[in-house]
Symmetry: C2
Subunit: 233 residues, 2 copies
DNA sequence: TGTGACTTAAAAGTCAGACTTTTTGTTGCT
DNA sequence: AGCAACAAAAAGTCTGACTTTTAAGTCACA
């Protein structure tokens, strides 16, 4: 079962979406629903549903008598998880990772500050557990296990901020961290300093020290930016 | 033409989308496509297209033999402009404005810092123009004109950051600022301090002083948060 | 030559109906 | 009580006919 059966239209999207975000059809290209339906061997109804979804992502615009035209990349819903996944799978993955990392660097420190104020006892416990897990797996080529704890750590912080917009960045951060581990230069064990910082953040949140939590998370962010050579001279 | 003719399915969405985001159908509610099609007096095909769009926004999930079930609010694509508009039009508008303002406060300072490094000459000019426009309209009940300049100012900053994720928050910030002017206590002229800060940010960006631009924008952000009573005791 | 009104045709949009597939819940047997 | 077969409900799919919008071409007239 290569393609999970979420319906025909979804299978079409899995192919057409990445093609568009990869720039395979340049901005302004005109597609015709009937032709697409033939190409993908589905009925027009199914193709129409797929087009409607692409339209809701602002990837294309459908106009009578002209067809389905590909919109400029600047119009795309870059926060749509689906679009993000498609773009991360494509050629401009590095560029995408930079954008996402910057966003993360801007938001996470603020989220950590809020978490220090609003985190529940359970969330504090979860955070500490994650930090300890990171420490435990930080040496000896246990990158995958480390990644799991790292992702969970950041997800808990974002959730604990109490802001739904921040919380929704959890999946996005997960993608970035996974991408870093899997596609970046990541042969060695993680930076010990980063591990320590995470432990300290958990501590600061537990103590309710918002300013410290924010400052420490900002240090983590700086590290993430430096990894991608985004730094001020 | 009350409802612009973007197709039948769009008209259905204009009604069904807000109903769902307003919590009119509680989490877990089950809708049936056929019934909805009858209720809205459209064909099943049209209703299916509408459902597909709602599905892509993670507002609902469609499963065979059970129907179209409303997903928990935590799953919704809260960054989808359409969803944001629906929610801003609904009852939890205040809550929504808080979330958005927090996000804005986290991102804009960083964006301003980047803008100071990467803004083009045209963008610097536009920024200065906006700031001057704000000064010119800051007194004498010209709130609407002031708003236009304010929105444009922040949009230029976000665009000048060179980060597409930041740039895409332009519309969102516009919504927040418009909401603030139209639905908040905004009978008086804008705070003179805020106006001055905007002028200074334009200055800092022009000089390429990233740290100053960031710090000043952070002050603007603090003001925005204080307006909504989001402040540290 | 230019311009404005009229015609045409291409593509999306809409609809109705028949059929398929998956999944759930029930029933009946051991 | 547990399991297996069965029935029905709802989404999913396909097809074909029809409508609507609108870009583009055409023709007459100034």
């Amino acid at each position: 079962m290569t393609t999970k059966d979420r319906g025909l239209h979804a299978r079409v999207l899995d192919s057409l979406g990445p093609a568009i975000t990869a720039g395979e059809y340049p901005e302004g290209s005109v597609l015709r629903t009937d032709e697409l339906a033939q190409r993908y061997e589905v009925s027009r109804s199914v193709m129409r549903e797929a087009v409607r979804v692409l339209e809701s992502m602002h990837l294309v615009a459908s106009r009578r008598r002209v067809g389905v035209t590909v919109r400029p990349a600047g119009d795309w819903n870059v926060y749509d998880p689906q679009v993000i996944r498609w773009r991360l799978a494509g050629a401009d993955r590095p560029r995408q990772l930079r954008s996402l990392t910057m966003l993360r660097s801007a938001v996470e420190p603020v989220a950590a500050g809020l978490a220090a104020r609003y985190a529940s006892a359970e969330q504090c416990a979860a955070l500490t557990e994650c930090a300890l897990g990171m420490v435990a797996t930080s040496r000896g080529q246990q990158l995958e296990a480390y990644l799991v704890h790292d992702i969970e750590f950041h997800r808990v912080v974002l959730n604990a901020s109490g802001n739904e917009m921040f919380a929704h960045l959890g999946d996005l951060v997960a993608e970035v961290l996974a991408g870093r581990t899997h596609h970046q230069v990541m042969f060695e064990d993680p930076d010990p300093a980063a591990v320590t910082l995470h432990v300290s953040v958990a501590e600061a949140v537990r103590e309710g020290n918002a300013e410290r939590a924010e400052a420490l998370t900002r240090e983590i962010a700086v590290g993430a930016l430096q990894e991608l050579d985004i730094l001020a001279p």
